[in-house]
């Protein structure tokens, strides 16, 4: 199911942990959907000097977190904000479609940590981030499924009517 790179990062995740005196912290996800990611950053000038994470989640979530941390370290904040879901998926040599929502979380958590850092710098308290995806993704066509159906009701090619 997972590519070799994903499995490598899953088995040996880079940069796991917390940073006690982090300059920024970002957390996304909720346990109901199965994934929580917390990112910790250390900023030097405009550069991400250190990035660490803790992740509760599936294999993809762990690999994505690890890959995001590796991609981010040494980058400028602006560059790090450019890390997208797709670039992470690409760097991982692809993810199963139904796991795409996990990769969103990785970049999101990093971006939140950077926003947290910027807010602090501006002396503002970052508004409490809304909790990750309230609805979990459709495994079939990867759109949010607002309903209780076990499969996507809306955007897949074949859709099952209500």
């Amino acid at each position: 199911m997972y590519s070799d790179i994903v499995m490598e990062h899953f088995k040996n995740p880079r940069n796991v942990g917390e940073i006690p005196d982090a300059d920024g912290v970002g957390e996304v996800g909720n346990p109901a959907c199965g994934d929580i990611m917390a990112f910790y950053i250390k900023v030097n000038g405009n550069i991400l000097e250190d990035v660490k994470f803790k992740t509760f989640g599936c294999g993809a979530a762990i690999a994505v977190s690890s890959m995001v941390s590796e991609m981010a370290i040494g980058k400028t904040l602006e560059e790090a904000m450019q890390i997208t879901n797709n670039s992470v998926i690409e760097a991982l040599n692809g993810l199963p479609k139904k796991k795409h929502h996990c990769s969103n979380l990785g970049a999101d958590a990093l971006h939140r940590a950077i926003e947290d850092f910027r807010s602090k710098q501006q002396g503002r308290q970052m508004e409490k981030p809304v909790d990750g995806p309230e609805v979990c993704s459709c495994p079939v066509c990867d759109v949010n499924d607002p309903e209780e159906a076990p499969y996507c009701n809306t955007a897949c090619g074949h859709s099952s009517p209500k």
Binding site: G17, P31, G34, K54, G57, A61, H101, P150
Partner: protein, 394 residues
């Protein structure tokens, strides 16, 4: 690496005798049972015998067994077919809140068509109270459907009692016995069942083959209309290969059931005792004794099921989990939620389903391999409080 399959709920290998029984139907016995000539007749005879063997497994009469494409079809048909046939009598169904998707979603489909549904709660072990069934029955109730045992948590329902209540009020009673038929004794008379679903792979028969028991006299509309296969109740050219395999597996299950159970229970109970002894904050899910002989369902706090499963897979241990990441619906098991387990905790679900070929050394392996896997993942988890706040594990 030795493969330790503890995911028999997903798939069990075919018995060698089952494969042998199927072989002629891959080659020379290719006939269609509907044919009038000799090629068809030899297959018709085989199907008649097959029906008898499946009937014997659950103490039914031959003509009360209808072959289907599996548990899902049997469940869908029982619910939709009875509702369809009972329109003049009523439109109320009673079910439990821990049914398999094939019951749960078939019922949702019926609800959209105006059928009214009572979903009975369960206790912390996932078990329905028969008194709740009695209280839920109305003059418009056309069917009670409660599963015999839950595949995910192992708990066995008081089906005979529920069936008795339904029978006293002349309401048809269906039970999804996919997790039990061929595994523990299932007797349609003792259980007071009017309809009963079963699936072949539960007892080492082929995937995608099942049956619905329909008690003589029960009025049910076909789900598959067409030709007169299966006495006009289920049209379609029969999956002869699957039926032959299922019936052989049923025949053997009837004989070996007692010894299989005697083999499984000690293994199950070792895991139930030894996993929580080796890993803190692990809890058994489901009833400790009223449970399937091969079922061990636990939740491991602070970690997510798929990640544990992947590490175990690498070590050759094959299991399942009710976590959201693993479910293709990306939702945590509704069964555990119904039992009052919160969604976060349920993500740590691990489901071991043992089979006749598992041995003590398999249990040893699990108890050896699982704890460091859990520890590694807990150390990575933002939910795990006990880890030293600044420790990294790379």
């Amino acid at each position: 690496m030795r493969i330790i399959n503890m995911d028999h709920v997903a798939a069990s290998p075919l018995l060698p005798q089952v494969v042998d029984a199927m072989m002629p139907f891959l080659t020379e016995k290719f006939g269609n049972p509907s044919s009038m000539h000799s090629l068809g007749e030899e297959v018709t005879e085989t199907l008649d015998e097959a029906r008898g063997k499946v009937a014997a497994l659950i103490n039914a009469k031959d003509h009360e067994i209808v072959f289907t494409s599996g548990g899902t079809e049997s469940n869908n048909w029982a619910l939709k077919g009875i509702c369809q046939a009972s329109r003049s009598r009523g439109n109320h169904l009673i079910t439990s809140s821990v049914e398999h998707f094939s019951i749960m979603h078939a019922i949702k489909a019926l609800e959209k068509q105006g059928v009214e549904v009572t979903r009975l709660p369960v206790d912390k072990y996932g078990i329905v109270d028969p008194d709740d069934v009695k209280r839920a029955i109305t003059p418009r109730t056309v069917l009670v459907s409660v599963m015999h045992a839950n595949n995910e948590i192992g708990s066995i329902q008081p089906i005979a009692e529920i069936g008795r209540i339904a029978r006293e009020l002349s309401i048809p009673f269906h039970t999804d016995a996919v997790a039990t038929a061929g595994v523990i004794p299932v007797d349609v008379e003792a259980l007071n069942a009017d309809l009963l679903s079963l699936s072949a792979n539960a007892f080492y028969g082929p995937l995608g083959s099942g049956a619905l028991y329909v008690r003589k006299g029960v009025k049910i509309a076909p789900l598959l209309d067409g030709g007169i296969q299966e006495g006009g109740l289920r049209a379609g050219t029969e999956n002869v290969l699957g039926i032959v395999g299922m019936s052989k597996a049923a025949e053997i299950a009837a004989v070996e059931m007692e010894s299989r159970i005697a083999h499984l229970i000690p293994l199950r109970d070792r895991l139930i005792k030894e996993i929580p002894a080796a890993i803190e904050e692990v809890e058994l899910v489901g009833h400790p004794t009223q449970r399937l002989p091969g079922n061990v369902s636990v939740v491991v706090r602070y970690v997510e099921g798929e990640s544990m499963l992947l590490f175990l897979d690498m070590e050759g241990i094959k299991i399942a989990s009710g976590s959201a990441c693993i479910s293709r619906s990306l939702k945590v098991s509704h069964v555990m939620l119904a039992m009052g387990i919160d969604a976060g905790t349920a993500q740590g679900s691990l489901l071991f389903t043992l089979g006749k070929d598992n041995a003590d050394q398999d249990v040893d392996e699990v108890v050896r391999i699982l704890p460091p896997v859990v520890q590694k993942l807990r150390d990575m988890s933002p939910l795990y409080k006990k880890t030293s706040k600044f420790k990294t594990i790379t």
